[in-house]
């Protein structure tokens, strides 16, 4: 290059080298994170796959690793998904609707919004303590499925509300104006146009929230979900166990066989989560296609 000096050239080369190294570092870190995920999944599968057989799914926990199974925990988790969905979805969506469509921009709305942001950052174990005091003790619901479900619903409510608000906000104002100009009330507009249009976004948020509810262990420990449950819950007032609790119980034991059982339990938990997320993606793509 004719128009720069030797010194400038050296300096440029140095800067280019620095840029290349920097880029490679950032890339390496990213790939390392992806690699970590692969290692984690591989580890879990390697340890646990061997224990996944029909007997595992059909047995209750036991002191003997060969006879231990995940039946009560899996059923408990499925019960939890259902109950949490029943409580949290209507309340969450209603809250989001109220805050976005009806509450205006005043001080009260801002206060509620701040409140929800704070709630979403509270550690899950504090929700467990809350659930213990309010549902188990004060409302005397004991250590039942319903106590656990209500506690988990409170935990994931902020997530649903925040995701729901994003989705509702994404519906263009022009749709609302069109409906209102035809002589519709606010609620008719919301029900017939805003909700259907925001449904895919809401669904994604709901599934994300439910996934979190399934994986959380600490609140359930506080509630008193038992660790040795040799029966299936028959109704919402029964005591119960859940996959994360069972996994924790097995991990806490010193024997390596129980650790492998824990890995098997983790595989089941991850599969449940995967199925839920796949359902979400499916529902989302179906409703998005219909809206197009």
């Amino acid at each position: 290059m004719a128009f720069i000096s030797e010194q400038e050239y050296q300096n440029l080369q140095h800067r280019h080298r620095k840029a290349r190294v920097f880029q490679r570092c950032c890339a390496a870190v990213t790939w390392a994170s992806v690699f970590l995920l692969a290692v984690l999944l591989y580890q879990v599968c390697a340890d646990g796959l061997g224990w996944l057989d029909w007997q595992f799914f059909n047995s209750f926990p036991s002191r003997f690793p060969d006879r231990a199974g995940i039946k009560s925990a899996l059923v408990g988790t499925l019960w939890m998904i259902a109950l949490v969905a029943v409580f949290s979805i209507p309340v969450g969506i209603s809250s989001a609707l109220y805050l976005e469509e009806f509450a205006g921009k005043g001080k009260f709305a801002k206060f509620v919004e701040l409140n929800i942001s704070n709630l979403s950052g509270v550690p899950s174990i504090v929700y467990g303590i809350l659930g213990l005091a309010i549902f188990v003790r004060y409302f005397a619901l004991e250590r039942s499925l319903i106590s656990g479900a209500l506690t988990m619903s409170l935990l994931i409510l902020p997530t649903i509300i925040i995701a729901g608000r994003e989705a509702i906000r994404g519906v263009p104002m022009s749709i609302r104006y069109a409906a209102l100009s035809l002589g519709a009330t606010r609620w008719q507009t919301t029900w017939a146009h805003v909700l259907p249009a925001s449904f895919p976004g809401i669904m994604t948020g709901v599934i994300l929230a439910l996934s979190r509810a399934i994986g959380e262990t600490a609140p359930l420990i506080l509630i008193g979900a038992m660790t040795f449950v040799a029966f299936l819950p028959q109704g919402p007032m029964d005591s119960f166990t859940a996959l994360p609790i069972q996994i924790y119980n097995w991990v806490s034991r010193p024997q390596p066989e129980f650790h492998e059982l824990a890995a098997a339990g983790i595989i089941v938990l991850l599969v449940v989560l995967l199925l839920m997320n796949a359902t979400a993606i499916y529902i989302r793509s179906r409703t998005e296609r219909r809206l197009k």
């Binding site: 263009p172 022009s174 749709i175 104006y177 209102l180 100009s181 035809l182 002589g183 519709a184 146009h193």
Partner: protein
């Protein structure tokens, strides 16, 4: 600044005038205390097209939106004066804005069909208002009035979003007409469309005039001159002049009006 009284017109030109559907008396619209529309008085006559023209920001869209109470959705809006619709003030305490909008319809600048089928776009308004007659008939009638029936009659169940821009706007017109409104308000309905769609819609408005009363806001002076019977010229929130379109465009009374329509500004 002057407005034309019906009595003067009758005396001067011995014309038989239709009744006034909307009577604006010293109407002001304020956003948080700042006036966007200042003391406008005029009458919208039945079965006529009234155009509101003026430079950007003169308050014409604000005035239009106050005619069907769509301004209610803006924070901090206050209305002064009266807008009489069949001898009732639209902004009276006892008036239900939802009922107002059932009788005074609106078409917006950018076509905004619902993300539903063509059929459901038309049918939704009447159905939530308790329409009990034949919906198929109503849909066909509305689409025919909007000169869209022939183009979509075989694909009523398809999504409205698949239509072209001009077709979507005619769909929005049909949707508004399905409510059988007394007045149809149109906020620059052609500004987002190509010239061919624009002229189709202008032809449409001529036909609609026989059954409906139309108020159209437009920034396109030539459009106002082509299709409207009466024209109002606004600037900075004030209605500078209101009169028959011929007169406004050929022998305006106010100098400012003349400057605008001859293109000296705006």
């Amino acid at each position: 600044m002057s407005t034309m009284e019906n009595a003067d017109l009758v005396n001067d030109r011995k014309k038989i005038l239709p009744p006034a559907v909307l009577d604006l008396k010293e109407v002001s619209v304020l956003y948080s205390g700042k006036a966007a529309v200042k003391k406008v008085s005029c009458q919208i006559l039945r079965n006529r097209i009234t155009a509101i023209i003026g430079p950007s920001g003169c308050g014409k869209s604000t005035l239009l939106r106050s005619l069907n109470r769509m301004n209610d959705f803006v924070d901090g809006v206050t209305i002064e004066g009266e807008i009489l619709f069949a001898d009732q003030n639209l902004y009276g305490i006892e008036v239900d804005p939802v009922q107002v909008r059932r009788r005074i319809g609106m078409v917006f600048q950018k076509p905004n069909p619902f993300p539903k089928s063509i059929y459901n776009n038309i049918a939704w308004g009447p159905s939530i208002n308790g329409y009990t007659g034949s919906m198929d008939e109503l849909v066909e009638r509305s689409l025919s009035q909007a000169a869209l029936w022939d183009e979509v009659k075989d694909r009523l169940q398809e999504s409205a979003l698949n239509l072209s821009g001009g077709q979507q706007q005619r769909l929005c017109i049909a949707r508004a007409l399905a409510m059988e409104p007394q007045v149809l308000l149109m906020d620059e309905p052609c500004s987002a469309l190509d010239p061919i769609s624009t002229s189709r819609i202008e032809d449409l408005l001529f036909e609609l005039k026989t059954h409906y009363t139309i108020v159209i806001v437009t920034h396109n002076m030539q459009q106002a001159a082509r299709i409207s019977d009466y024209t109002a010229f606004m600037e900075m929130g004030i209605m500078i002049e209101f009169g028959e379109t011929d007169q406004i465009f050929t022998r305006p009374n106010i100098k400012r009006t003349e400057e605008y329509v001859t293109g000296r500004f705006g």
